[in-house]
């Protein structure tokens, strides 16, 4: 009995490698990589005949409605006009770069890849993207910030149909009630925020969160004062941080700004807990849920009268990864062109309450969308986050939010906080 059971186990053990090998075998034949490869080749054959069976893989991060539907429809329409069908995958925003990197190492990159514009250089630097000049695409006539954000080492790697930025939102009723003028300079912002602070209501809300959201909100203050991200240990940046520190120290802004993301800031504004806020046009649909809320949008106040605001350029850029399949890459480039037609830009920007990136359509856009006038003005001088430092941007951006936290929550003097962060 004992011997028999022992024998049985030995048999099982000896069979194990076979079982494992069998598993490995099914894995190999059943892998999606093979499937894709075979459909690729059939696609290519069809491509030679008339590219009708070609299905392009597209990846973006528009998981939420209504954007999800907008982009699905747009891609389907462009696909139809180019003569290909679209297989679109939307992944959560914080995962898209990781997914793209995984796909790059596995050789399964999509044919059309959307990236948040400050990530483009990071990915372009890996060699995973195709220069758009190969398809005869140029960014002539696009906003300068857009061109900067999508250009790496002199080559254009992406096109961005729409853009956004941030501006100052204010509650019209509250300002009228308190008899406060809309602030245009930093001094006016300080005093307006203090005057508007009353009981449970703060004068202003913004995000100084310990991530790139906080950095993004601080940039217009830093840049408009002549500060730069390559060295934040300068008086220009310190003055900008001093403004934020003053707003928090005087109680005109909540100490919680260091934990609020932009959605939290918007909630505070909607709940009447903040009379003004720094935010972007993607909040318009949320703000519209409360029809009793009267608000207006103006450019972020500048250090002095006469200086113009320099805001960070937002929005997503679309790229053609280097998949090695010429036919598919060419088709993807056609889709990219289609997405940047004047009419498409106008339509998409109107639907999503963002700004088109072609200079030639801006006037028409403002006529159609008077509420977007402030943002349209802002994005024309908007600056790309990666414009100055390229792939060094993430490290520089982290230094900025580190200094924000040190100063606003840690009570460190702004100049010292910036010096510390720059030194690290």
């Amino acid at each position: 009995m004992k011997v028999q059971s022992a024998r049985k186990s030995v048999a099982i053990v000896l069979a194990l490698p076979l079982v494992l090998a069998a598993c490995g075998g099914t894995d190999d034949t059943g892998s999606t990589g093979q499937d894709e490869a075979s459909s690729d080749s059939s696609g290519e054959q069809a491509g030679e005949e008339g590219s009708e069976a070609l299905t392009l893989n597209v990846m973006d991060y528009y998981t939420a409605e209504p954007d999800n539907t907008f982009y699905q429809e747009l891609l389907d329409e462009c696909g139809a006009s180019v003569g290909v069908s679209i297989s679109r995958e939307a992944v959560p925003g914080d995962q898209i770069v990781q997914r793209a990197l995984q796909q790059a190492s596995a050789g399964t990159l999509p044919d059309l890849l959307m990236l948040d514009n400050p990530n483009l250089m990071e990915i372009a630097a890996t060699g995973a993207l195709t220069p758009l000049s190969e398809f005869g695409i140029s960014a002539d006539g696009f906003l300068p910030g857009v061109v900067d954000a999508s250009t790496y080492e002199g080559e254009l790697y992406g096109l961005q149909p729409i853009t956004n930025s941030i501006a100052l939102f204010y509650n019209e009723d509250v300002l009228a009630e308190e008899g406060v003028e809309v602030p245009q300079t930093w001094d006016e912002l300080r005093s307006a925020a203090e005057e508007l602070t009353d009981g449970d209501r703060y004068g202003i809300a913004f995000s100084a969160k310990a991530d790139f959201e906080g950095t993004w909100q601080f940039l217009p203050f830093m840049w408009s004062n002549g500060g730069n991200e390559d060295n934040i240990n300068t008086p220009e940046v310190a003055e900008a941080l001093q403004l934020w520190a003053d707003l928090v120290a005087s109680g005109a802004a909540s100490e919680s700004v260091v934990t609020w993301g932009q959605a939290d800031v918007n909630e505070q504004f909607m709940a009447g807990q903040a009379a003004m806020m720094i935010n972007g046009p993607w909040q318009f649909p949320v703000l519209a849920e409360d029809p009793s809320l009267n608000y207006e949008v103006v450019p972020i106040p500048t250090p002095n009268t006469g200086t113009s605001v320099v805001s960070p350029l937002g929005g997503e850029t679309w790229t053609v990864p280097d998949t090695g399949d010429e036919a598919r890459m060419a088709a993807a480039a056609e889709i990219l062109k289609c997405m940047n037609e004047d009419e498409v830009q106008l339509d998409l920007a109107t639907k999503r309450q963002t700004v088109p990136t072609k200079l030639s359509v801006l006037d028409e856009f403002v006529e159609l969308n008077p509420n977007m006038e402030g943002f349209t003005e802002v994005v024309q001088t908007a600056r790309a986050r990666t414009g100055l430092l390229g792939t060094e941007w993430p490290a520089a951006g982290a230094r900025i939010y580190e200094a924000l936290g040190q100063s606003l929550a840690g009570g460190v003097d702004p100049a010292e906080a910036l010096a510390q962060a720059q030194g690290s």
Binding site: Q4, A6, R7, S9, V10, I12, V13, L16, L20, D94, V97, Q98, L101, Q102, A104, S105, E122, I123, A125, T126, G127, A128, D200, Y202, K209, A210, D211, F212, S254, E255, S256, V257, V258, T259, A271, Q273, P394, A395, A398, Y401, E402, G405, Q406, L408, A409, G410, G411, V412, Q420, G423, S424
Partner: protein, 306 residues
């Protein structure tokens, strides 16, 4: 048939037993190597390489020796991050374990509704972490959070503390939430451990006239020791690597006040794309876990030896 009656046994019974034993170990060994060994070795290797976004595409990651470790340890907040990790773990474990033990002892007595209440207790463990942290973030808000509203109404404080945005309280807030999340785990395991203690021992102690304190120190605690060790080892390992709770509550901020090795590794790898430094930080985290594991295993062995 021929296999059952071999003319000449090739294996002596002893060697056969060894083979059988190895055979039982093999599946586990293969599993561990495939799903734990491979990623672990890969991570160790990555920590010595300049692994960037480019490496994913080209597959090239030059060997840089200890550069990543130097960068991680030389980071100006490294000391604070290590202390945060230790404090976060120590305070969380003490809180979770003490409250978990008290609750387990309380529920040992049967009373009307005790069973359903025990079920309710598990809820905080069942809610997805990211959801419960989001709710806690609301409750801990300085101005509108329910916790400060209660504090303001029952205490003379005019405004409650800024739980999440003060450098002195952010870590405390993370610890409090982590304790709340960890209580059911501790209570459930300790309750099970208590059930294993034979009733006769307690009956004997009652006959001998032992006080309830004596019953606890002389009977409950010694007999619960093996469970306690398991709960603590698992607790430390689970706590030291906590990422989602801290990311959801404070994001490691403000000003690194609640940054731990786990959140720092995340920041290196997925915010700054310094995968080599992220891996190095992760390896340091494993060292910390290993240290605790060895300490507790030794304690465990000693208690068994006794």
């Amino acid at each position: 048939m021929g296999a059952v009656t071999p003319a000449k046994p090739r294996f002596t019974p002893n060697r056969r037993t060894t083979l059988v034993q190895l055979g039982f170990v093999l599946p586990a060994f293969v599993y561990v190597m495939l799903f734990f060994g491979y990623p672990l070795i890969n991570n160790l290797n990555m920590g010595f390489r300049d692994y960037t976004t480019r490496s994913f595409f080209t597959g090239e990651a030059p060997w840089v020796g200890l550069d990543n470790y130097q960068a991680v340890i030389g980071f100006q907040y490294f000391e604070r991050i290590v202390f945060n990790t230790l404090w976060f773990t120590a305070l969380s474990i003490v809180g979770q374990f003490t409250l978990g033990l008290l609750i387990a002892l309380y529920f040992r007595r049967q009373f009307p509704g005790s069973q359903s209440l025990r079920g309710v207790l598990l809820i905080s463990w069942l809610i997805p972490l990211i959801a419960s942290t989001a709710v806690w973030r609301w409750m801990l808000d300085k101005d509108n959070g329910v916790i400060n509203q209660i504090l303001e109404s029952v205490t003379p404080l005019s405004s409650g503390p800024s739980w999440l945005s003060s450098t002195s309280l952010a870590l405390v807030a993370c610890v409090l939430v982590n304790i709340w999340i960890g209580i059911p785990f501790n209570a459930a395991l300790l309750y099970a451990g208590l059930q294993d203690i034979p009733k006769e021992v307690y009956e004997a102690s009652t006959v001998d006239g032992a006080s309830s304190l004596q019953t606890f120190t002389k009977i409950t605690w010694p007999l619960l020791r093996p469970t306690v060790t398991v709960v603590l080892v698992l607790g430390v390992v689970y706590t030291v690597k906590v990422l989602d709770i801290i990311l959801g509550l404070t994001g490691g901020g403000p000003a690194y006040a609640s940054q731990t090795l786990a959140t720092q590794a995340y920041q290196f790898s997925f915010e700054q794309f310094e995968f080599g430094q992220g891996a190095a930080t992760g390896n340091l985290l494993m060292l910390v876990t290993l240290f605790f594991a060895v300490v507790y295993l030794r304690l465990n062995r000693r208690s068994v030896d006794e």
